[in-house]
């Protein structure tokens, strides 16, 4: 049999394969460049950038939870300007589609970052991190009109493919997803994380300096799958990127089957640094062995138990 076709289209954006790495979990990619062949990835999403550099939250920033983890990094990043001047030139050495994630405190801030990125070259798309970075910040993914404001502001500054990334904290995701698409998003990334908290019973203190953090990892996979499936039912034409708890080929297949066109690996990178590219290989083998010509056949192909 001939080599299976792994490429997928997220609207106008064509990816060589559906395995991306998730924003913030993989740094700028360069941290992994000696371990992972970045060019084998479907896309590389860099950590969320803000208008100005951010020092991030005080420690403790992380806590391990059952099959998951909490993080509250607080958007530590060098800022969009330093990224463009210092980091992006090094990333241009790679052919991997590069997606920049944007965060901000207001629709205007998002738009300013997007506008600055629009004026540079070598980017495949933008992802809007609409989740709340810490309790003191505002989350833009908890109400349809907030989401729409950010997406609309950004859409006006750029013609790059635009993905709105939502967490699952805002109740019913469908209206929020809908408003993101109506405001101009080319696709949706589901899900960012779920709000969570942990206490160290021995010290009787919160485990995170920020108290509340983002729950990620295998623990949230059923929640993320549910989000993708529900949005897919409501918006069958909108390209979805599934993320949450992927650590194996089976996990990738689950997300594709419920309707994700591509997936992102986040916490899984910490179980094995080469997980993302290993998954590209495993997916290729799976398609070959099962004589599936194109990975797109799997998207949304889940069936009922009976």
């Amino acid at each position: 049999m001939s080599r299976p076709d792994l490429s997928v289209n997220l609207g106008q954006l064509r990816l060589p394969n559906p395995i991306m790495v998730a924003s913030g979990t993989f740094g700028y990619g360069l941290e992994y460049e000696r371990l992972v062949d970045l060019n084998q990835l479907g896309a590389l999403v860099v950590r969320s950038l803000t208008l100005r550099p951010q020092v991030g939250n005080a420690p403790l920033r992380l806590a391990e939870t059952p099959a998951g983890m909490l993080n509250a990094i607080g958007l530590q990043n060098e800022g969009v300007e330093a990224f463009i001047l210092e980091t992006l030139p090094r990333l241009r050495a790679y052919s991997v589609p590069l997606i920049v994630s944007i965060a901000g405190e207001s629709p205007e801030e998002y738009a300013q970052v997007a506008e600055r990125l629009q004026r540079t070259s070598g980017l495949a798309g933008l992802e809007l991190n609409l989740a709340c970075p810490s309790p003191s910040h505002r989350a833009f993914d908890t109400a349809p009109q907030l989401t729409a404001e950010v997406v609309r502001a950004v859409r006006q500054t750029t013609d790059l493919p635009l993905f709105a990334k939502l967490s699952a904290n805002g109740g019913d995701l469908v209206p929020i997803a809908q408003s993101a698409v109506e405001a101009g998003a080319d696709g949706l990334t589901l899900i960012h994380s779920v709000a969570g908290l942990a206490v160290n019973p021995h010290t009787r203190r919160f485990r995170l300096a920020s108290r509340v953090g983002h729950l990620t990892g295998p623990a949230i996979k059923p929640i993320a799958l549910c989000a993708v499936w529900q949005v897919r039912q409501a918006l069958p034409e909108v390209p979805l990127i599934g993320v949450g708890g992927i650590t194996s080929l089976d996990d990738v297949l689950e997300f594709l089957l419920v309707g994700a066109t591509a997936v992102q690996v986040g916490t899984g990178n910490y179980l094995c640094a080469t997980l993302s590219t290993d998954l590209v290989g495993a997916l290729t083998d799976y398609l070959t062995q099962n004589e599936i010509g194109t990975v797109r056949e799997l998207v949304g192909a889940v069936r009922d138990v009976m």
């Binding site: 740094g27 000696r34 992380l62 391990e64 059952p66 099959a67 983890m69 990178n269």
Partner: protein, 267 residues
């Protein structure tokens, strides 16, 4: 510095003391490049809880045999799983990672302060130091723990011929009290010294304070969770202060785990 993600084979796994285990792994590229103070991330099994790999200091590296060893105690589920790994089995290992101890120049005494499971990286460091020691240099080991049975790696230290002074908080062996008391005492002796320490963070903080007051060059290896080990997740933040007072966060996993005493802001 280069690191490798590989499947290492367990070539030896032995109990060295009640609840102290040495695990020897065949991992040639890591063995060939490992430096004292560096560590590996290991994942004994594919179970998803506990989720993170854990960091273990490299206790020894034998480039010829292509093996490294780590030293651990069973504390919780992760280390319980680790302890069950049979000979010949494989486990995922990422390493060597981080910046280790750098030999201080122009001192006559290298004081290594080990609190409990802080011993392994210092043991590795001492073994490399010994072979490069000039005649007027000496090594002093200060090893501390809460109880006698929690002391780690004394055999290795003694085998190097270094002087070893011991402190236990309950007085069950050596000086009854903290290892930092031994340090203060040692620094009173009139020898230009440098300090290298690894152990619980609150011990490290005291070591730093003692050395800063005494203007003794000092390096400490800090402990934080380290899911990625490569500087990507920014979860292992250590608060640092520039000479001008500016504050920001460094990454324990790659900027450290060894930091200079004057850098770290313990609050």
């Amino acid at each position: 510095m280069a690191s490798w993600e590989l499947q290492a084979v367990v070539v030896e796994h032995r109990q060295r003391a009640p609840n102290q285990y040495e695990l020897i792994l065949h991992a040639p590229p890591i063995a060939q490049t490992a430096q004292p103070g560096q560590y590996v991330l290991v994942r004994p099994m594919e179970t998803l809880a506990p989720l993170w790999r854990r960091p273990y200091s490299i206790l020894r590296a034998n480039p010829d045999k292509g093996v490294i060893s780590i030293f651990y105690s069973v504390q919780s589920q992760f280390t319980e799983l680790l302890s069950l790994k049979p000979l010949g089995s494989q486990m995922s290992v990422l390493g060597p990672l981080g910046h280790g101890f750098q030999r201080e120049q122009g001192v006559q005494r290298h004081i290594l302060v080990a609190g409990g499971f802080g011993a392994p990286p210092l043991s590795f460091f001492a073994s490399r130091l010994v072979s490069a020691l000039s005649p007027d240099e000496q090594i002093l080991i200060l090893a501390g723990a809460r109880r006698r049975d929690l002391l780690v790696g004394l055999d290795e230290f003694r085998a190097l011929g270094a002087e070893v002074r011991i402190a236990t908080e309950d007085g069950s062996q050596g000086y009854a009290g903290r290892v930092t008391d031994l340090l203060s005492e040692a620094l009173c002796e009139p020898l230009p010294s440098a300090v290298y320490a690894c152990g619980p963070n609150r011990m490290l903080q005291m070591v730093c304070e003692i050395c800063l007051v005494g203007r003794v060059p000092c390096q400490v290896s800090v402990e934080t969770p380290m899911p990625c080990g490569v500087g990507a997740c920014l979860g292992c933040a250590v608060k640092v202060r520039a000479p001008n007072g500016a504050i920001w966060y460094k990454r324990a996993c790659t900027d450290g785990p060894v930091f200079r005493a004057e850098e770290v802001d313990w609050e």
